[in-house]
Symmetry: C2
Subunit: 225 residues, 2 copies
């Protein structure tokens, strides 16, 4: 990956399918710095391994892992509260799922912006997807536009950071196809919300992922139970 | 303090003079929940004591202390980096001081919004001050308006959280006068950026505070070295 003459970008890299394809997109035009956030999710250790595996694949040295587990402390979400069950099956569309961490992406973008301003990055990439009926209010184009305006107002006058959401209008099939076409290391990614050894195949995240691979006519290279 | 019939508000309470007066303002109209953030500042332990002392004074049970020390990890600021000296004297106006933690208030507001959405609060109070020449880009009315728009876009459709900045256009003298008139426990507050036993009296924060009390014709009730 050549970074000569490219401006720096911070890429939010959870280690999942979407963030991996987002990094592959970012690397086309920018010199990537990758940021991983632990917000107390069940499968944090497995996701962190995926983060480092993917960064190794791309030869990225500038990595930052940040603990934002106060989101678990604040609670209100089954994803960060071990006493609440994770919903199985696909979202029914329209309503906000119980895995929603209130205003999570704003917390994540705020951290990313702080790091971007310190390291002189001009872009912040996040693999958010508005489609698939996931219903997260902080995964919409309207939210990202509003947050970018807040960045412009709340950072140094000379700082200009654009938020890039290259996957925002894609569905999982299109994301798998784009990742394949860009040569993204999809075999290194992790999406399951429940398990860390082999993916469960039945949680919402696994079902969306499997549907994406099936739609693209591809076999998911990771192991399922 | 009567909370009967009042809607809930989250108040950011660092333990300093400004946040204490902000709480006194908020308590007039809302049922307060107080939020303290440790972002790795030098005087964290002393500020936390001030937070609890002030909350005790008002009889507030709903308190949340959250660690956001990843801002220290990201660095770029003398306030969170022990190897950089804290500037002495008053800011010279215009430029951004070295104590600026990049996009700090956005991180703080994101945490406050997450908690507000979980606990059903309709307001978020922050004692930010645009005046005094402090020069923080994330302390401006323009920034708060932009962030409020991001909250509207990024939270549940039924959530409506307004950001209140009752001190935004006041100088330190007016803040001391307002605190006195509201009976705010200014003797319990802590402002010094450097010391924890007795205030240093020479850092920027001490000088602004002392200037405020002098302007109001009041004696600062805390102990100085």
């Amino acid at each position: 990956m050549s970074t000569v003459g490219k401006s720096r970008a911070v890429i939010l890299l959870s280690g999942g399918l979407d963030s991996c394809v987002c990094l592959a997109e970012a690397a086309l035009s920018h010199d990537p710095c990758v940021l991983h956030l632990n917000y107390g999710q069940r499968t944090e250790a497995r996701e962190l391994r995926a983060f480092h595996d993917i960064a190794d694949h791309y030869g990225i040295d500038r990595r930052l892992v940040v603990d934002v587990s106060h989101l678990a402390q604040i609670g209100g979400s089954s994803l960060v509260d071990a006493t609440q069950p994770v919903e199985q099956g696909l979202p029914d569309g329209g309503c906000v799922p119980s895995t929603y961490v209130p205003f999570r992406n704003a917390n994540i973008l705020a951290v990313g912006t702080s790091w971007a301003e310190v390291c002189g990055a001009s872009a912040l990439f996040i693999g958010a997807v508005e489609e698939d009926g996931s219903g997260y209010p902080d995964c919409t184009e309207a939210f990202y536009a509003a947050f970018e305006a807040a960045i412009d107002a709340g950072t140094r006058p000379e700082t200009r950071i654009r938020i890039h959401t290259p996957l925002i209008s894609l569905n999982k099939t299109a994301i798998v196809e784009r990742g394949r076409d860009l040569g993204a290391p999809l075999h290194l990614t992790w999406s399951c919300y429940v398990a860390e050894d082999a993916a469960c195949g039945v949680c919402e995240s696994c079902l969306l992922r499997l549907r994406g691979f099936a739609g693209a006519g591809e076999t998911d290279p990771i192991t399922y139970k």
